[in-house]
Amino acid sequence: MKILQAIKVSFGAIRSHKLRSFLTMLGVIIGVFSVVTLVSIAQGATGAVTEQIEEMGPNLIIVNITGRGHRTLSLEEANRLAGREGVRAVAPVVSGRVTVKQGNVTLDTTLEGTSPEYRTVRNQSAQSGRFLTEADLQFRQNVVLLGGSVAEELFPLGDPLGREIRIDGTPFTVIGLLEEQGAGLGGSGDDKIIVPVTTAQRLLRISGISTIYLQASAPEMVDRVIAGVEAALTLHFRDDQAFTLFDQAQILDTLEQITGTLTLMLGGIAGISLLVGGIGIMNIMLVSVTERTREIGICKALGAKKRDILLQFLIESSVLSGFGGLFGLALGYGAGIAISNFTDLTPAFSPLVVAVALVFSLCVGMFFGLWPANKAAKLNPIEALRAQ
């Protein structure tokens, strides 16, 4: 008997019990729906964060000076790292919390003192006005670039360029607005202000550097630069605990580990509901085999082989679960659109998830249909014919 014919016949059987078939499918629908939705949300969130990390700048290496002990790293010493092999640019950073004031608006924000290289290394320049220059650093100019949210709060109406604000009481001139970055790891990339590093050292009364952003000249140089800088800093501090060094790859690795586990967990939980759906299918197929015992007997009398009966019931359970899977997928897709419309999350529907969910739901139908189908195929034709 041809498979297509068996599918047609199974549609008839499913149609003759519409409500029952729908309720049976519901288990699979909910299972596939939750698998697809949860995994897509997890992947969407991962994708968003990954993008932000990558936007931090290409081939970025971050050195945090925790400054244990008495030694610090001076600005000149930090800048000297630029001369190392494989280093394209260095942006030393001094940072701290400050209070800014404009008119009668006062707010707390993060101040970063850095050099013009910050622009390339951190991939963030001025969207209007200008960025820092060497001259600003040399003359310890009181100039400042405002992050998006700071600018909005301080100057809700007018253009901040050229205006004056007070940082911890000291007057600064606004020379530029920073490009929008959105919320990233470790707080908003827009809730900060940038001043020349030399100015910041004086303002915050810090002599050392707290963070150095390094840009390697090529992706394959990253590991070598890390090793070299690590050795140099260990020598400088006489202590390898005084600083931490990591690059984007490490951050991404950690992130992937976390989200991978999360995705697996969500997928697993949803998978269990799919399994429960499968058991529902098995249950209803067993009922169906019992109800149709006589029909099975008739078919056998007319020459149906074991294979024909087995195939018939297997296809029926697979059609149930397969269509359940399709409906679940459609629902999940709809939910994804709704979620991205009403929240900040954008679920990512990877073809892999869609394929896995569909194949898995089909397999659930076949697996849980196997036992009932086998039961039907093994029926003795005479006894089956005698059933009521």
């Binding site: 008997m1 008839g12 078919c299 020459g303």
Partner: protein, 226 residues
């Protein structure tokens, strides 16, 4: 073509042996019309199940067209039922959810015949039993006599050599019953071997030969003198 010799059929019910057939021997020639009669429980249906390859003997030999059926695997038996046997049951045994035409198509479906050809043959078979105007009806939308005619169409659609009818008129009034018997005689005239199980002495007497059973044994054979 049907050659049964020394066949026993023993059922086990809760550990107790029930002999449904004892040392039954019977030959039916090709194109013969025989009737099997006997009281309830005498083993008529059991005999028919064995002739129809729905069941195999506990002992003894049954040869159909020279092939020892008792040794064949299930799949081969299904194939023989499909190609060589046409069943007509007392309770019609049509599938309730599909139309008359689709019911008639079933044996062809298991033979792997294309959908177009199936439909053509099924319509022809329904025409032969006088139901050309009822092809779309479900079994529940047909009278008992019509249902049994659909069953006969289903039995003959695959052009089997043997038609086995187990009390085909048992659930019918005499009028529709006579139509069914007339159809069986017509099939016989067209060269089919017909085995008719019946309680009705009148019907039995119309056969070329009547086999009387009692308690699992064939106790008498009567040949009709034409």
């Amino acid at each position: 073509m049907i050659a049964i010799s020394g066949v026993n059929k023993i059922y086990y019910l809760h550990g107790v042996q029930v002999a449904a057939l004892r040392e039954v021997s019977l030959s039916v020639a090709e194109g013969e019309f025989i009737a099997v009669a006997g009281p309830s429980g005498s083993g008529k249906s059991t005999l028919m199940n064995i002739i129809g390859c729905l069941d195999i003997p506990s002992s003894g030999v049954y040869c159909l067209n020279g092939e020892d059926v008792g040794r064949l695997p299930d799949n081969r038996l299904a194939e023989i039922r499909n190609r060589h046997i046409g069943f007509v049951f007392q309770s019609f045994n049509l599938l309730p959810r599909i139309s008359a035409r689709e019911n008639v198509e079933l044996p062809l479906l298991y033979r792997g015949i294309s959908s177009k050809e199936r439909t053509r043959l099924a319509l022809k078979a329904l025409e032969r039993v006088g139901l050309a105007d009822r092809v779309r009806h479900r079994p529940t939308q047909l009278s008992g006599g019509q249902q049994q005619r659909v069953a006969i169409a289903r039995a003959l659609v695959g052009e089997p050599s043997v038609i086995l009818a187990d009390e085909p008129t048992g659930n019918l009034d005499s009028g529709s019953g006579n139509e069914i018997i007339a159809l069986l005689h017509q099939l016989h005239r067209q060269g089919k071997t017909v085995v008719l199980i019946t309680h009705d002495p009148d019907l039995a007497s119309q056969a070329q030969r009547t086999v009387k059973m009692y308690d699992g044994m064939i106790i008498r054979e009567e040949v009709r003198v034409p």
